[in-house]
Every structure is written in structure tokens, then in C-alpha cells.
Subunit: 144 residues, 2 copies
Amino acid sequence: MEQRISAITLIVPDVAEARRFFEEGLGWQVNASPSPEVVFFQIQGTVFALYQREALANEIGRAVTDQPSGAVTLAWNGRSEQAVDEAFEQAVAAGALPVRHPDKAFWGGYSSYVEVPGGHLLEIAYNPFWPIRADGAVELPPPA
Amino acid sequence: MEQRISAITLIVPDVAEARRFFEEGLGWQVNASPSPEVVFFQIQGTVFALYQREALANEIGRAVTDQPSGAVTLAWNGRSEQAVDEAFEQAVAAGALPVRHPDKAFWGGYSSYVEVPGGHLLEIAYNPFWPIRADGAVELPPPA
């Protein structure tokens, strides 16, 4: 499981409010917002995302904290569905708890979630819409 | 405030256990661990860190959640103390809540914390030990 983090996602109650802070307040450029529940920014070779709390809870089938300092998911993206299966098995063998087994995801990819020691969520996914460069960086399509 | 994230820090109850997962379980290479409470990994142009929950609570003077999916801090590093002061003021003007005003930090840098809309912690810091490349990436010194 190559040493990389493909996405950092802040789980928030109000995506529009958090988006305004980063976009209008700090002047950061949004790359895409395919639905009101999610916003993507390109940060060097990583994706920084805002995602609505109930949407994540529905996706993984368990509650997500609303206590400070909030919730987050990390993502590791592989280059194929097989790479996801292998990384998921490696993570579980290393002591992570399975949360969502690898399967087709509603957004068109192939995704799984584990809980790593310490309690955080790590998504392990294949995303055919987010190319991975040779150095492991994620490259989002340019803003529409 | 240039569009970048300099560090992603998972806040964990047991740093040694979380380190074992990433280092031995996944095979990731630790860059440094200046104290038992903290571990740094270089991930492309970002630092991925593990940090002990009570150590952060002491540093910022408030409680940190122990509920799933855990706590996290993001960091934005500037190139000078003045850049930190300016970014802190910009963040607060944009709606972030001040948590720790810019000041000398115990680790030798200059640091502040704000709470961004959604409840997450954003550290805004100048770290003289972590050079920032022209493209904004952080470059950790090589492992000792």
C-alpha cells in the first residue's frame, strides 16, 4: 500500500457554510461540487473535500461524531479494483476494523472503508474519474 | 492564504498503536518522532502526523473528541511569522473562531489555531524546521 493520502475530507454539518469559508473567506478555488453534499479542492497532489455528515453516515452505515474537533476521513486511492481488494486486506490484517467491504460505490467507483487504530476512517478506493500520476498524486479534472 | 494544506494530523489515544498500523502494517516510512506523543510521515508535499489526544488538548486549552470518527487537525504553514499573523486575521475575518492566538510555540516555531466552520481545527503556523518549496509543498528533513 504505497505511502500516500489521496483525499482529506472534513465532515461538516453545513457544506455551504464551510465552502464559503474556504472559497470566499480564504480565496481558495473550488474544483467541482457534483452535488450540494460535497465540494472538491485540488491541493497539490491531494484532494481536499467537504462532505455532509448525514451523507457519510448513510454511506458507511454508522454514526459520525458531531463533537469538536469534528470528523474526517482520509482516502487512499489505488489504480484498480484489485488494488483496492489487496489494500483492504492488508489494512485489516494490520489491525484496521472493516466498516464497508470493497464494493461498487454509488458515485461510480469501487470503494471500502476501514477504521484505523485511533478511531479514524480510511477510505480505500478505485476512482476511475481521478487519474493517479506516476508519483501517486491525484489529478482532478480541471474545473468545469 | 495560498491554497495548501501543510499537515494532516490524526489525533489518537495511543500513538504507538497507530504508528504500528501505518509503519509495520502498511509499510509506510516514518520520517521522525521527536517525542513519544508525535510521529511524522512525508506524504508527497504534505506531512501526515499522529499526535496524542491529551497533548493537543493541553496545547490548545480545550477538550478534543474521543468519539468516532475521531479528531484531526489541518495545518497551513506560512513562510514567516508575519505571514501567520496575516493568515490568522484573514481566517478570523472569514468566520473562523480564534482558539489560540499567534504566539511562540513550545516546539520552536510560531503557531496559532482557529476553528473553521464545521468545527475542525486549522493550525496556522511558521515552522523554521520545515522548509516550504516554491510550489507550497512542505519538505521534511530526511529521516535521522
